[in-house]
Symmetry: C2
Subunit: 191 residues, 2 copies
């Protein structure tokens, strides 16, 4: 998606350790008009899928998922990190290792909100090693629901997550795939 690639080039910053900072428009400060354009793009790409619900994981996926959901006319469910006292009854749970935070989180989704009848579109801001997506796929699998596809804003094409997901035969639509980036020159090459 040209608009997103241009924005990453303009406002993204490459940091040492394979970190691409896009916090001025994607995951700390959030440009809602951009999210709507992303929603239009995914609605077009997944037009043939009978999506009933969008699933994401806290925190930085939530804003994108909620704005994007308007283009699919479905509710959003977000997987919660760590057990909340407010989640009662049964939950699906899994562990996710965060690339950014170098930590392992427990994430949970109430069983009430994903059922075998659901056709799920998973939305997230970043795809690096794919750990978050594997956790979400596990939850959807446990629920017996169908994964229609995955929409990612920024895929780091030089990390293994994209290949891992595509090798499972899951439809993955990343709106920007970074092929390589250089912390010294700041150069970003898209696939």
């Amino acid at each position: 998606m040209k608009l997103l690639e241009e924005r990453i080039r303009k406002d993204g910053t490459v940091k040492a350790g394979n970190v691409l900072k896009v916090d001025s428009f994607l995951n700390h400060q959030m440009d809602i008009d951009l999210f709507n354009e992303m929603g239009k793009e995914w609605a077009h790409l997944f037009a043939d899928c009978p999506i009933t619900k969008i699933l994401t994981v806290e925190a930085s996926g939530i804003g994108i998922a909620c704005v994007v959901a308007q283009h699919f006319h479905v509710p959003v469910v977000f997987a919660k990190k760590t057990q909340s006292l407010n989640i009662d009854g049964e939950v699906y749970s899994t562990k996710i290792q965060s690339f950014t935070h170098k930590k392992v989180y427990d994430v949970i989704v109430s069983k009430k909100f994903i059922t075998p009848e659901d056709h799920i579109l998973i939305i997230d801001d970043f795809l690096a090693n794919g750990c978050a997506l594997e956790g979400l796929l596990e939850i959807v699998g446990e629920a017996g629901a169908t994964v229609e596809g995955i929409g990612i804003a920024v895929e780091k094409g030089f990390q293994k997550g994209g290949d891992l997901i595509r090798s499972k035969g899951i439809r993955l639509e990343s709106l920007a795939i970074v092929e390589s980036m250089d912390a010294e020159t700041g150069e970003i090459v898209f696939r």
Copy 2:
């Protein structure tokens, strides 16, 4: 706001320990159409305020804030819990005690995203003891920005947060104020 009160009555559940569960439409599964109606209401209530940015805190405030922001045509910034390796440079930080999770969080906002020129609308899903809001107000104060007001989806009127915020002279627009609720009968009385 009648629509929200009716929804709370219909789909909310009162639990022991002053817990009101609204996780089927507000803060785990999210009804985006409802969020848009809330956005229209706040846009009407704060129509005279020159708002430049919406501030919320992760995680459950983010979805509401992003959908609501479309009615103000401004970006959203969310305060992040705990230090992230991806936040560089200087940040505003404070500590917030969560009523729900019985924990103290460090929350941070990058100094780049709130400036003295900003007129801030704070949005969150719940107001109980007001700890989260006090943290966000502290951050806006540190930044030298102006707080135009606070929009809360559900205020627990029987806890001290609402009075605390109003006593500071800050404009607080809660779309539903629960005056009392009873875990045994399930009855919810709105102010």
